[in-house]
């Protein structure tokens, strides 16, 4: 990235587009976190680890198919399912027995899960940095409004809204989505009308984690995949979910956009402190609206 060039329109434009495309990945991850938070009322600390697993799994699948274009698509589809499977096992084997317990115990559990998953990743993939180049169709740059944007980022800009629409469809048009939305608002009610709340929670948890895995798979071509990426993403995801309104998926979208755009502006204005910009934005938002921009489901 060209740093500190001042404020000419072209670099502003391309920087904004890069920021927006990064926001799309954040959105996918945060929507999952927010979904789990809304339904289960637990800040899932292990969400970042699942994202990391998604990234490593996508990396391996992609490499297995010799970095071919088909392998990339396959990785994008399979890796989130690997993550969903991991989360399903954790949920059914352990987590589901804790729903009646003190809230902090659930938090503690997700922390323990984070520790375990982190080390399992280290065992499986080792501590090396892994990076790949995007498949041929998504390599190179294209020109958008006079500023050049890597094709892959353009691809992300398409995927993000697609995921948003899919989520909207899921929560508003499918039965399980409606039930989980109802469970987010009033879990007693869902229990009363005779739905097995435990399975609703399981479904919500797995879907949330699937999104974490998808985010991880999407991020692979843009960064080097490594241990520790779980810690970095989870704090950002927490902040985004908070400014968006806990449990509100659209809030996650708004929060991600704010985070991504302020970061890219930071890169442009004061590269050294670029990572500080989104934090400042978050703090400003929270000072004005402590409960987040959009209505929280709590």
């Amino acid at each position: 990235m060209e740093l500190g060039q001042g404020l000419d329109l072209v670099s502003l434009g391309s920087q904004l587009l890069v920021g927006l495309s990064r926001a799309m990945i954040l959105f996918v991850v945060c929507a999952g976190l927010s979904f789990v938070l809304g339904v289960l009322r637990v800040p899932n600390v292990a969400h970042g680890s699942l994202y990391m697993i998604g990234a490593f799994a996508a990396y391996s699948i992609f490499r297995f198919f010799g970095s071919s274009t088909g392998g990339f698509w396959l990785a994008l589809i399979l890796a989130p399912f690997v993550v969903a499977l991991v989360s399903l096992i954790a949920e059914r084997a352990l987590f589901c027995h804790l729903y009646q317990r003190e809230h902090l115990m659930l938090l503690l559990f997700t922390f323990a899960l984070m520790l375990i998953l982190g080390d399992l990743v280290k065992l499986t993939w080792g501590p090396e940095y892994c990076s790949v180049v995007p498949p041929k169709v998504l390599r190179g740059s294209i020109s958008v409004f006079g500023s050049s944007l890597p094709r892959y980022n353009f691809f992300l800009l398409i995927v993000g809204p697609l995921v948003a629409v899919a989520l909207w469809f899921f929560t508003n048009r499918t039965k399980i989505g409606k039930i989980s939305r109802a469970a987010a608002v009033d879990r007693e009610m869902v229990g009363i009308i005779g739905i097995n709340v435990s399975w609703v929670f399981a479904a919500a948890f797995v879907i949330g984690c699937y999104l974490a895995g998808l985010g991880g798979a999407l991020v692979v071509p843009t960064v080097s995949v490594c241990l520790g990426m779980d810690h970095d993403i989870i704090i950002e995801a927490f902040l985004i979910v908070t400014i968006g309104g806990l449990g509100n998926i659209w809030g996650a979208l708004v929060g991600s956009l704010i985070f991504g755009v302020t970061h890219s502006l930071g890169v442009l204005l004061w590269p050294q402190f670029a990572i500080v910009f989104p934090y400042v934005a978050v703090v400003i938002v929270l000072l004005l609206r402590p409960r987040g921009l959009l209505k929280s489901v709590w």
Binding site: R41, P43, V45, L94, H97, L98, R101, E102, H103, L104, M105, L108, F109, F111, A112, L113, M114, L115, I116, G118, D119, L120, K122, L123, H231, I235, F238, L239, V241, T242, I243, L246, Q272, F273, I275, V276, Y279, V280, V282, V283, L286, L287, P290, R291, W298
Partner: protein
């Protein structure tokens, strides 16, 4: 005034532990002395968090920030100014408490999880600044080789210094908890609405508790500088805060001394299991899960339940 509350006879096990800790350093290998000192520092940090967490039910998710702020303040004062050193040592806790007041003032409007989330955000801002401001904080390298007074620059003397400060702080924390302030804080934990109805300004009271807790976290930060002679941004990172949080839950957050136990378990675990395998966090995670399922009150809570007669001496009404 305090005689009634600290019954000298009933605390003989504490005296015994203290004497053992005092005679250990000359006999123990350096490494173990160092680990003990790390446990002391971490204990104080966990105890300070538990003042607001276990006794106040305030979800202070990012307590580590105040530890880091205390450490950074002292480190900067010692290495960048020529002021007398004791000013640096006092400034650490004071600045930590001021930052605690500022952050607490914004967060206290919210409750529980929202409080915690807002606090993580504000704390992360401080981390991000320290992480990037190379000219001032050394950025991600941190600050190393901080000049310390010669009196406490050797490991053994640092050990004694830390132990003395720890004991003073623990006594202070104990007295605070047994004071009207502490009683009221626990009453707020149990029922904030009722507290408001008996004339307690709940938010101001909680804010005061946060300031006190952050002050002691700042003290722990200073002790860290004394022990390590360096600071780095990880002190401000949320992972550390979460670990301290876990120490309280692990040791028993409704008990007074549980966090010390939690800190001791975590630190020794990391150190000694870390020698044998690099996958110690995996084992820690598994142990945590076992604890959640089988000892939800924490280790100390479990011990207190199990040995009820002793429970009264430790002074927890919960176990009566």
């Amino acid at each position: 005034m305090f005689k009634g509350i600290i019954n000298l006879k009933s605390v003989w096990p504490i005296w015994a532990i203290l004497i053992v800790l005092l005679v250990l350093p000359p006999i123990l290998p350096r490494f173990y002395t160092y680990i003990l000192a790390v446990i002391f520092v971490t204990s104080l940090l966990a105890m300070s968090l538990n003042l607001v967490l276990g006794h106040g039910m305030i979800f202070q998710f990012h307590h580590g920030v105040f530890y880091g702020v205390g450490a950074y303040t002292t480190a900067l004062m010692l290495s960048k100014t020529s002021l007398p050193m004791w000013i640096g040592f006092v400034a650490g806790p004071v600045v930590a408490a001021l930052v605690g007041l500022l952050i607490g003032w914004f967060c206290i409007r919210l409750t529980r999880l929202y409080f915690g989330m807002l606090q993580i955000s504000l704390g992360s801002l401080i981390w991000a600044i320290a992480f990037r401001w190379y000219a001032f904080t050394g950025g991600d390298d941190g600050i190393h080789g901080i000049p310390l007074p010669s009196l406490i620059s050797s490991l053994n003397s640092a050990y004694y210094f830390i132990l003395i400060i720890l004991v003073i702080c623990l006594v202070a924390l104990y007295l605070i908890l047994k004071s009207p302030f502490g009683t009221t804080l626990e009453a707020i934990r149990d029922n904030p609405q009722r507290c408001e109805a008996v004339g307690v300004n709940v938010r101001r009271h909680q804010l005061m508790a946060i300031v006190i807790a952050t002050f002691f976290a700042g003290v722990a930060g200073v002790l860290f500088v004394v022990l390590e002679g360096s600071v780095f941004p990880d002190l401000l990172f949320w992972v550390l805060s979460l670990e301290v949080f876990i120490m309280c839950l692990l040791g028993g957050w409704f008990t007074f001394s549980g966090p010390i136990l939690g800190a001791a378990i975590m630190v020794s675990f990391r150190t000694f299991v870390g020698i044998y395998t690099e996958y110690w966090t995996l084992i820690l995670g598994i142990i945590l899960i076992l604890l959640i399922f089988f000892l939800p009150e924490g280790v100390m809570g479990y011990l207190l339940e199990k040995f009820k007669p002793q429970a009264k001496e430790v002074g927890e009404r919960r176990s009566e």
